[in-house]
């Protein structure tokens, strides 16, 4: 292929730069550092997350879908997660309602596809909390805010549980399910998703492999003075305890579950 002369010069310059650096680099010390840290069971270095950067949300419009959309969603088999105050969790394991099972995932994948069809691929996300279903849809479908339907779908569940200091049983206090395409920034607030005052959730996910998903999330729940930031990889479908705190004689835990949606379902 005939390339412009300066393009070849550019390649040569880049290769030369890279080779000179490699020739000067000794990796033995770094190898030793890594294996020593691994032997200790982790690194003492500040954490570096494995996610790609968040996409900045584009200009979007919020469609208050109201009763019509809620009814439509209800008809599409969304399994609604409603934490009930009387439900208790008897152990330190993730509570059963933090898991996303195959049946739920199949239903959520069908829901995402159906809503994307209804909104002609302008759907950005679907969120469900405390029995309410909210969607964000691009206004005109031309600003590229929604990701193409080829991007893999993801389902995310965040559950907050609490218990009193003298109790060994956990009670769910807040939960949300989110459906979106990977790399879509999802930002739920009281105004756009009907969350309780002072509650906010930002999510971004990217599948680094079939079973491993990089997740970047930030949750604030003012009512319980919770501020959670998570930036790491997670196993698909397996709840991760992303936060735990004890305050004023009360203990809180936050579980986050993320799973890829099989679009063939």
């Amino acid at each position: 292929m005939n390339e412009p002369r300066e393009t070849s010069d550019l390649d040569r310059a880049l290769h030369g730069w890279a080779e000179r650096r490699e020739a000067a680099k000794d990796h033995d010390g770094l190898l030793g550092r890594i294996m020593t840290a691994h032997g200790r069971g982790g690194g003492a270095l500040p954490p570096v997350s494995l996610h790609a950067p968040r996409l900045r949300p584009h200009r979007t419009a919020w469609f208050a879908m109201g009763a019509a959309a809620a009814a439509l969603v209800a008809a599409t088999l969304l399994v609604v997660l409603r934490p009930r105050p009387d439900v208790v969790v008897p152990s330190d394991l993730p509570p059963q309602y933090a898991w996303l099972d195959q049946s739920q995932l199949g239903e959520k994948a069908a829901l995402l596809r159906e809503m994307e069809r209804v909104f002609e691929n302008r759907l950005q996300w679907v969120a469900e909390t405390e029995g309410r279903v909210v969607m964000q849809v691009e206004q005109d479908g031309r600003d590229g805010a929604a990701l193409p339907a080829e991007a893999a779908g993801v389902a995310v569940r965040v559950v907050v549980v609490q218990r009193d200091a003298d109790s060994d049983q956990w009670t769910p206090v807040w939960a949300v399910d989110v459906l979106a395409r990977q790399q879509q920034v999802v930002h739920l607030t009281p105004s756009n998703a009907g969350l309780p005052p002072g509650t906010e959730l930002v999510l971004w996910a990217f599948a680094v492999d079939d079973d491993v998903i990089a997740v970047d999330s930030r949750l604030s729940v003012a009512e319980h003075s919770l501020q959670v930031e998570f930036s790491d990889v997670q196993r698909s479908g397996v709840p991760a305890r992303v936060y735990e705190v004890r305050e004023h004689g009360r203990q809180y835990r936050v579980f986050q579950t993320i799973a890829m949606l099989d679009d063939k379902v």
């Binding site: 010069d9 550019l10 020739a23 550092r33 294996m35 691994h38 270095l45 996610h51 990889v233």
Partner: protein, 190 residues
């Protein structure tokens, strides 16, 4: 050339299986040793700082070793590793957002060939200019040029690592080359 009777080196997949099944530290070490130069080079070419590159490389391998149980062989291990390393650099660069990438004027020592004193000065200057030019690219454009021009991956592979379409990758490469050519035009013949 391998001697007759010499045991062939285990593949990445064999090392992964060995590490997953028995937790053998030697398997983990061999995996790290095998991929460390490439990962460290990739990270360095993105962050342009030796010390930061080493820290990120360490963190990448520690996290990868902890996540190996989740790795499936659908993607090559090296591809997955590149993805993870790039994601880590993006994370770092995001945290440094607002300030340009810092690059160090590192002396070019240890060359495989010994340049003349005049050439050595010119090479050091060119290296500094290249680092400066790369630091001015956005992380996505930098990754595109590093993966294709420096790492010499084909465009499809680079797109797979970056999680974008090949068309997007072509566009990024084009943009990156255009900016670099403009920035480094004084170094090239007209």
């Amino acid at each position: 050339m391998r001697n007759i009777g010499e045991t062939p080196a285990p593949s990445d997949e064999q090392l992964l299986a060995s590490y997953r099944e028995s937790g053998r530290a030697s398997a983990a070490e061999e995996l790290v040793r095998r991929h460390l130069p490439r990962v460290n080079a990739l990270v360095y070419r993105m962050v342009l700082d030796e010390s930061v590159a080493d820290d990120i490389t360490q963190e990448v391998f520690l996290r990868v070793l902890r996540s190996l149980s989740g790795f499936r062989h659908k993607a090559r291990f090296s591809t997955w590793l590149c993805k993870v390393a790039l994601n880590a650099t993006y994370s770092y660069l995001k945290s440094e957002k607002g300030s340009p990438v810092r690059y160090c004027r590192e002396p070019s020592e240890g060359h495989s060939r010994e340049p003349s004193p005049e050439d050595a000065v010119l090479e050091a200057e060119l290296d500094a200019e290249i680092r400066a030019a790369l630091s001015e690219l956005s992380p996505k454009l930098r990754a595109a040029i590093v993966l294709t021009s420096v790492e010499q991956l084909d465009v499809k592979e680079a797109a797979r690592i970056e999680g974008c379409t090949t068309a997007t990758m072509y566009w990024r490469i084009h943009q990156a080359r255009k900016k670099l050519r403009h920035r480094l035009k004084n170094w090239f013949s007209p």
